[in-house]
């Protein structure tokens, strides 16, 4: 077991890679009552084409399987795993994103039992034709719930516009149609390939005795008959930066229109600190141009061009990256124009002093986030899957220069990599 002292943030991290390939991290936090653990696989909605374990040829599976699997993991022959956790006083949950699926519990008692339950339930898949059919009804309702959400549609609509082929353009849960194709054999194949310990990471944080916990995990994993496997072969290609659709509008039952300007950005299979640095550079660039203390924000908010819903976001992964800038507004055209002008004027707007102050803010925000076991476990896993350390944030922030930010912003002024998604109120009948 490796002991990593993180002096800048006053935490100690313990790490071990087990013989079957599972990577385990434990971060004890004094005075906390809860233990929080995430058990995550590097498998998400974009992994539709891959070579199954021990197979020779790649396959393509129906959309929505990663999410479907997540739902079905909770159902076992003996019953629903929620019950077991409840009885043991823990609350359990799971989520699926574009690139990972996580199972997590939070408990303030029976920690060893709950940890064993977490490991065991994720390790014991149980799928039948009947249970698969039943889940389709529930997931169809979930898809429709998201379809009704203007906030989801405005965000995801921009992603759909940007990508021609990359699977990020498919909704994480799939579609009501695609999930009908899913069979239990699909689920077993995906499970065996992606839920292998060598593709997974276990993170435990909060109230925990390190050595006994690590021993429990070693014993649990030792009893499984699995050996370390090489990385899963996935077939996804990064697209060029040209968007598929430059502009799209849909009508929904909303009071105020929404607009989202999306930018397709280079990803380049970045990993390590380079990945973290690039992500932070994109974010800092947008903060310096559109943050709440900028001339853009002051004027746009004052004029009512943007409101409290205004926001921007950066997503960076191995094979795709994008940024979105959105707001509710009655003047979508003017908003787009002002956003474009702001990017065009970027070099006159960027100041070293502002960057320095912004970096102080970000460092403070990062340290404050370390009060949250949930933040630590989930974000650590995210960055670990990109071969970098969450705790490098402070160091990397301090290394970023104004030149770095200027370079990063060049990607926002290319000719064909931006799109606009809009939602307008429906025409009401008299």
């Amino acid at each position: 077991m490796e002991k990593i002292e993180l002096q800048a943030v006053e935490e100690t991290l313990y790490k071990e890679v087990l013989p079957n390939g599972l990577t385990v991290y434990i971060l004890p936090k004094k005075e906390y009552s809860k233990t929080y653990a995430t058990y995550t696989t590097k498998y998400g909605s974009i992994d539709r084409m891959f070579t199954p374990l021990h197979a020779k040829e790649p396959i393509v599976v129906p959309d929505g399987i990663a999410h479907f699997l997540e739902h079905k993991m909770f159902e076992k022959e003996e019953g629903d795993i929620f019950h077991t956790f409840s009885q043991q006083g823990a609350s359990v949950n799971a989520y699926t994103s574009f690139t990972r699926t996580a199972y997590l519990f939070s408990a303030t008692s029976n920690v060893e039992k709950n940890m064993t339950t977490l490991l065991d339930f994720v390790q014991a898949p149980y799928f039948t034709e009947e249970t698969v059919e039943k889940e389709k009804g529930i997931i169809a309702q979930e898809i429709m719930m998201y379809d009704d959400s203007p906030d989801w549609r405005i965000y995801f609509g921009a992603v759909e516009n940007m990508y021609r082929k990359h699977p990020v353009r498919i909704d994480i849960a799939g579609t009501v149609e695609s999930i009908q194709e899913i069979t239990k054999d699909h689920l077993y194949t995906c499970y065996e390939t992606f839920y292998h310990p060598s593709n997974m990471l276990l993170f435990v944080v909060g109230a925990v005795d390190v050595e006994p916990m690590m021993q429990l995990i070693r014993n649990n994993q030792g009893a499984r008959e699995l050996t370390n496997e090489p990385n899963v072969e996935r077939f996804i290609e990064e697209e060029d930066l040209t968007v598929q659709v430059k502009e799209r509008t849909i009508a929904m039952d909303v009071f105020k229109p929404k607009v989202n300007v999306g930018f397709k950005l280079p990803a380049g299979q970045l990993k390590g600190q380079a990945f973290l640095k690039r992500e932070l550079i994109y974010e800092l660039g947008l903060d310096l141009l559109f943050g709440t203390t900028t001339p853009f924000y002051e004027k746009a908010y004052d004029e009512g061009l943007i409101d409290e819903s205004f926001g921007y976001d950066v997503t960076l992964e191995s094979t795709f990256a994008f940024a979105t800038i959105s707001t509710d507004t009655f003047e979508a055209e003017r908003f787009r124009e002002v956003v474009r002008e702001t990017f065009e004027r970027r070099n006159e707007l960027l100041e070293a002093e502002a960057l320095e102050r912004l970096i102080k803010r970000k460092i403070g925000l990062f340290i404050r986030s370390l009060n949250s076991p949930e933040f630590i476990a989930n974000q650590f896993t995210n960055y670990a899957f990109h071969d970098t350390m969450l705790f490098d944030h402070v160091e990397v922030y301090r290394s970023i220069t104004l030149e770095d930010v200027k370079e990063g912003l060049e990607w926002f002024v290319q000719s064909n990599n931006s799109t606009v998604m809009q939602i307008v109120p429906m025409e009401k009948e008299a």
Binding site: K30, D253, N371
Partner: protein, 424 residues
């Protein structure tokens, strides 16, 4: 949990010295009896005070100073509690030992104190452009409820059940009253707040207590505080169950059912009702979740919510609206089951275990510590997680049945979509 410093009539300071967190946090609460005019004013004020103060009179300058303080936050907001309107100021900063700056705490506290005592006011008025802008934001916030279908459906239900009670009033006031706010009336309301409201201050973190007391001394003097009358929930005399449907362009229906109960958080049966609500629909092992969603696939989301301040309980679900009658029947069955005693030892145990877990977990956050202590301190002399857990563990099955039997169904609201068959 907190050390109490009673400062004067109407001012209480509570400090929790701890090294658990990497931050120091302050929460200040000003309470007065709810009325819609001051609610509207204080809603606008909560945006205006976060914008600027006398020394930093533009948002950019104000925020830049906070950024210099390593991203310290200063958030003001409004909320409602029973018959009280509450103005909140929440500020958090990174602990001095993580930052490369001397006097970090002193500077932060000075900034806080100045924001309260020396707001951006000239000639008895707040800045006109700021007030105009923030009035607009609050109005937009009020209007945007329509776009969030879950919140909208819930509000419609409450409006049916208790149109004249505080529960149906918005903490933001009304559109008309917000529009009527002026830069001068805002100052009057603010001064009244500082002079007359009951003030409670919470501090969590590793900081010298004397620094806190010295900083807030000027703010906490000279009060004309008046006791707020005790709230008693409205009792409905209506015998029939009200039903209403509305159509929006949505794909998933929102069903909301409302019940009343005489049990509020001050009632000795409160713990039993919390357990009852947990068994009914508060957790994933609950009757509603297991029987309506898991067994019958009738809903993606379904849960019950006990609104203990107002003696209400609501059940809400995201459903296919064509199945409304079946869902209502299933829901009625779950309640009937509980009322007739069909509750297993397992359900009771699981619910108590999860309630215990949730209170301990909530108390692992700064905000949880402050908010929960504030909620429970009236009814628990020495509030702690253990005190609550002890109370829950003592709840018997009979008490749970008795609590559920107090539920009286009053209203059903359904938000449905346009296509009859629910298909594309």
């Amino acid at each position: 949990m907190f050390k109490h410093y009673p400062i004067s009539s109407g001012v209480d300071l509570y400090i929790r010295p701890t090294q658990q967190f990497k931050t120091v946090t302050i929460l200040m609460q000003w309470d007065r009896e709810f009325d819609e005019i001051s609610a509207a004013h204080r809603a606008v004020l909560s945006n205006v005070l976060q914008d600027s103060n006398e020394r930093y009179p533009t948002y950019a300058k104000y925020k830049n100073k906070l950024d210099e303080l390593y991203g310290s936050t200063l958030i003001t907001d409004v909320s409602k509690r029973e018959n009280k309107h509450r103005f909140l100021l929440f500020s958090e900063t990174v602990h001095e030992r993580f930052v490369r700056s001397e006097n970090h705490f002193a500077e932060w506290l000075t900034f806080l104190a100045e924001t309260i005592q020396r707001p951006n006011v000239k000639d008895g008025k707040f800045d006109e452009a700021t007030v105009r802008r923030e009035k607009r934001s609050i109005v937009e916030r009020i209007q945007s409820i329509y776009d969030d279908k879950d919140r909208y459906a819930y509000r419609q239900l409450i409006q049916m059940m208790r149109p004249d009670d505080y529960v149906a009033k918005s903490r933001l006031g009304t559109e008309e009253l917000v529009q009527a706010v002026t830069p001068a009336s805002l100052v009057e309301q603010y001064e009244a707040m500082l002079k007359e409201d009951k003030l409670t201050i919470y501090v969590v973190g590793d900081i010298d207590e004397q620094l806190i007391i010295d900083t807030f001394r000027p703010i906490i003097q000279q009060r004309e505080y008046e006791e707020i009358p005790t709230y008693a929930p409205t009792v409905s005399t209506c015998v029939e169950i009200q039903e209403k449907e509305e159509t929006n362009a949505i794909r998933q229906g929102k069903l909301n059912i409302g019940y009343s109960t005489p049990i509020t958080l001050h009632d000795e049966r409160f713990a039993a009702m919390q357990v009852a609500n947990g068994i009914l629909g508060g957790f994933a092992h609950s009757k509603l979740f297991q029987n309506v969603r898991e067994k019958e696939s009738m809903a993606y989301t379904i849960s019950s919510s006990y609104i203990s301040q107002y003696g209400l309980l609501t059940i809400s679900g995201g459903i296919d609206w064509n199945e409304k009658d079946k869902v209502i029947r299933l829901i009625n069955e779950q309640i009937a089951m509980m009322q007739s005693g069909d509750i297993s030892e397992l359900e009771l145990e699981q619910t108590k275990a999860l309630l215990a877990n949730s209170i301990r977990s909530a108390l692992d956050t700064v905000r949880g510590q402050m908010v929960l202590f504030d909620q429970y301190k009236e009814d628990y002399a020495n509030f702690s997680a253990q005190a609550l857990i002890k109370r829950w563990n003592a709840v018997t099955k009979e008490e749970v049945i008795a609590a559920i039997q107090t539920l009286k169904k009053e209203a059903i609201f359904l938000l449905k979509g346009e296509r009859e068959d629910g298909e594309d």
